[in-house]
């Protein structure tokens, strides 16, 4: 029997069942090895590559990953700067920022550097660079003009993301930037074409808030959880917002042409339920108020001739609002939506930056997420709850500089309060319980960082979402196919990905959790603020009534309809005969 592993997971999460499982795993390992002509354990004698048996294999030293070591140049630059600061005074360091750090030697050496910088005798104030100097001039001379040319869009580190030299650029990042510049009237009141021309020839520099490190972490999580070596057409994407500023710090996907999807409306599925939840809490309902949760359920739609809406995906009798959020119960949320009024939910959605247009007869099904919204919009809406009810439209353009380095535009925050703090905190509390105990379980974070979020799964399985937030970041994860496939009309359901991925609680939640763990690695947990307690608002009997709700199936049984798949026959009265049917959303 092998020895115990030296470093088993040490989080103390052992339960009695674990011991049996671990024992089985060890036995399994022995069987696994039995077919091999060599051992595959750490202390075993390796198979002879050379003729004689060798002593116990010495494992190569584990080296910390390169990405964890600070770049050598940065270390030297900091060290040099500190030495200079110690030896020559801060003024010399400041003055040296325009030159290369390498020109400053150690304190005991480089007299040449010392003479240039003036050493200890010079008044450090004289070395302060002229604040008005442009990027090229360190001596206060007028900024040099450079010929206008293509525009560079750069990330938060100043690295070029894309160069715009064509007014007809299809690049999705360019589209996003242009959208924002138009929205903000950043460069005055001009049309899209005019702006595109200006970018192509104006030699501008556009600084964005996109952080390559955040992107790297997000991509690393995608690589880890969804390698997609089968080349499946569905790919995940993440939008990350910084809660404090509302800035978009990442639009991450492995497919560079995917960027547009972050701005492209897709069916949100049940992630939209959070807006219904917020409206309910705004109306004074408590997380403990009870709503009918059983299904299937049917509701009239539009006028009398229209087919009623029939919904599955619901279990249980009467349950609290918090509980039906955790299980993302469809019938309960349709009922809740009708109780608070779908038009009001729509208004709240708009206030949260969600531009939905729904037909009159779609309002009933609003909580099921038939409306299409972009990942950026979803993140922006959820960030409002993270920010105690204050909404800020997600943005990524920090500044626009002209070819001479003159600042043409700087982002100005325009946050607005959409809901009161108490409501936001109630929503957060419910969504946090959803991550702790509900369908969002895979999104849990280590390290004590609280997380709140909601899954979104569409009935056609074409789109799967997880949208959530911590104290510091809000992120929306979307999994789906980048293009509307003619060959693949059933979306995710028709391709072979693990079942786990189709639901928002599967890959999207896990991806969210993984990316967030990486982003929070060096951060202190920021706790969510607890709401005041809210007692149940209504009698149980009152809340159970939803005006106009039909029986379990709104449709009478008809042979013709019953034969067209996919359908599910329902026996209402338990007499063994089907009374009606409903469409089976699971296909």
């Amino acid at each position: 029997m092998s020895t115990d592993p030296t470093t088993t997971p040490s989080d103390g999460s052992r339960e009695p069942a674990d011991d049996a499982l671990l024992t089985d795993l060890r036995s399994f390992g022995l069987t696994l090895e039995a077919d091999l002509d060599t051992s595959i354990r750490p202390t075993a004698t390796p198979a002879a590559v050379e003729a004689e048996p060798r002593p116990v294999a010495v494992l190569s030293e584990d080296r910390p990953s390169d990405r964890r070591r600070p770049a050598r140049t940065v270390v030297w630059a900091v060290a040099a700067a500190l030495l200079v600061a110690a030896g020559f005074g801060l003024g010399a360091v400041w003055r040296d920022r325009s030159g290369s750090i390498d020109s400053v030697g150690p304190a005991d050496g480089n007299t040449e550097g010392g003479a240039e910088e003036g050493g200890l005798d010079e008044d450090p104030a004289e070395d302060t660079p002229d604040e008005s100097a442009g990027p090229d001039g360190d001596d206060g001379a007028t900024p040099q003009s450079v010929p206008a040319g293509p525009t560079e869009i750069v990330d938060a580190d100043g690295e070029v993301i894309v160069t715009v030299d064509d007014a007809d650029s299809n690049d999705p990042t360019v589209d996003l930037v242009v959208d924002e510049l138009l929205r903000e009237e950043a460069l005055g009141d001009m049309g899209r074409d005019e702006l595109a021309d200006l970018l192509a020839a104006g030699g501008l520099q556009i600084e964005t808030t996109l952080d390559p490190e955040v992107d790297r972490q997000a991509i690393a999580s995608i690589e880890e959880l969804y390698p997609n070596d089968q080349g499946l057409p569905s790919e995940p994407g993440l939008v990350v917002l910084d809660n404090e500023t509302g800035a978009i710090t990442a639009l991450s996907s492995r497919d560079p042409s995917w960027n547009g999807l972050f701005n492209e409306p897709r069916m949100t599925g049940t992630a939209i339920k959070t807006v219904v939840l917020a409206q309910a809490y705004l109306d004074g309902f408590s997380p403990n108020d009870v709503v009918r949760a059983d299904g299937p359920c049917s509701f009239p739609v539009g006028d009398d001739d229209a087919e009623p809406l029939t919904v599955g995906g619901s279990y249980g009798g009467a349950q609290s609002i918090e509980a039906v959020t955790r299980s993302s119960n469809n019938c309960a949320f349709v009922r809740l939506g009708l109780i608070v009024g779908p038009e009001r939910v729509l208004e709240l959605a708009k206030a949260l930056g969600l531009t939905m247009s729904l037909e009159e007869d779609q309002l009933v099904s609003l909580p099921l997420g038939v409306a299409e919204l972009s990942a950026i919009e979803m993140a922006g809406a959820y960030a409002t709850f993270a920010n105690d009810g204050i909404f800020e439209e997600p943005w990524l353009v920090e500044t626009v500089l002209d070819a001479d380095g003159v600042v043409l535009y700087e982002h100005r925050s325009e946050p607005r309060r959409v809901i009161d703090a108490q409501t936001a905190r109630l929503v957060t509390e419910t969504l946090e319980s959803n991550v702790e105990r509900g369908t969002g379980g895979d999104a849990q974070l280590e390290g004590g960082h609280p997380a709140a979020g909601k899954t979104g799964t569409t009935s056609t399985f074409t789109d799967a979402w997880f949208v959530g937030y911590t104290g510091q970041f809000t992120a929306a994860v979307w999994l789906g196919q980048p293009s509307d496939p003619v060959d693949n009309p059933n979306g995710l359901a028709s391709i072979e990905i693990p079942d786990w991925s189709r639901f928002g609680g599967g890959l999207p939640a896990a991806l969210w959790g993984s990316a967030m763990v990486r982003l929070h690695e060096d951060l202190e947990p920021v706790p969510f603020i607890e709401p005041d307690r809210v007692p149940a608002a209504l009698d149980e009997a009152e809340l159970l009534e939803v005006p106009g709700e039909l029986g379990p199936c709104g449709n009478a049984l008809s042979e013709e309809l019953a034969e067209s798949p996919p359908t599910m026959l329902v026996d209402n009265d338990g007499d063994g005969e089907a009374d009606c049917f409903m469409l089976d959303p699971t296909g």
Binding site: P9, L21, L25, S39, R41, D62, R63, L225, E446, S514
Partner: protein, 149 residues
């Protein structure tokens, strides 16, 4: 270092990871592919920080097209070896590859978190997370008869 020397030190771990991921038969094939690749490209590999991790990925790439969806891990204990839960192998196959490889490397074959992380070229905390989630899934899968969803 010579390639032979490198192999002597790392072969067991490379093979362990690929067998953990794909079972003995495919795992050995993958390891053979990886080792052959290593012979051809040792000049370049020996300058890498983590050639074992790189060869692990070579092994993965070589074998993925052939992967069967289920049934590649041994389901029954070999004669003379201790019994284990018959549902364990099928349950392991439902884990993601990273979860399975992490759980098997550490708990079935006794490698340390450090060694597993280096082989898979991820952080130790990532391996720990995979193990935690993998064990949770196994626990839940193996108790499935007692629980109606």
């Amino acid at each position: 270092m010579s390639y032979e020397g490198f192999l002597a030190e790392n072969r067991a771990r490379l093979l362990a990871g690929l067998v953990a991921a794909y079972g003995p038969e495919l795992g050995q094939e993958a390891a053979a592919e990886a080792e052959a690749y290593g012979w051809q490209h040792w000049d370049r590999l020996q300058n890498m920080d983590n050639p074992t991790g790189y060869l692990y990925r070579v092994g993965q790439s070589s074998i993925r097209p052939q992967m069967r969806p289920t049934g590649y891990l041994p389901a029954k204990p070999d004669d003379g070896l201790p019994d284990f839960e018959p549902g364990l192998a099928p349950a392991l196959e439902t884990l993601s590859e990273l979860q399975r490889t992490s759980v098997v490397l550490v708990h079935a074959l006794g490698w340390s978190l450090t060694d597993a992380a280096a082989l898979l070229d991820v952080d130790m905390s990532t391996v720990r997370t995979h193990i935690q989630r993998g064990l949770e899934k196994l626990r839940s899968a193996l108790k499935v008869e007692a629980h109606v969803n």
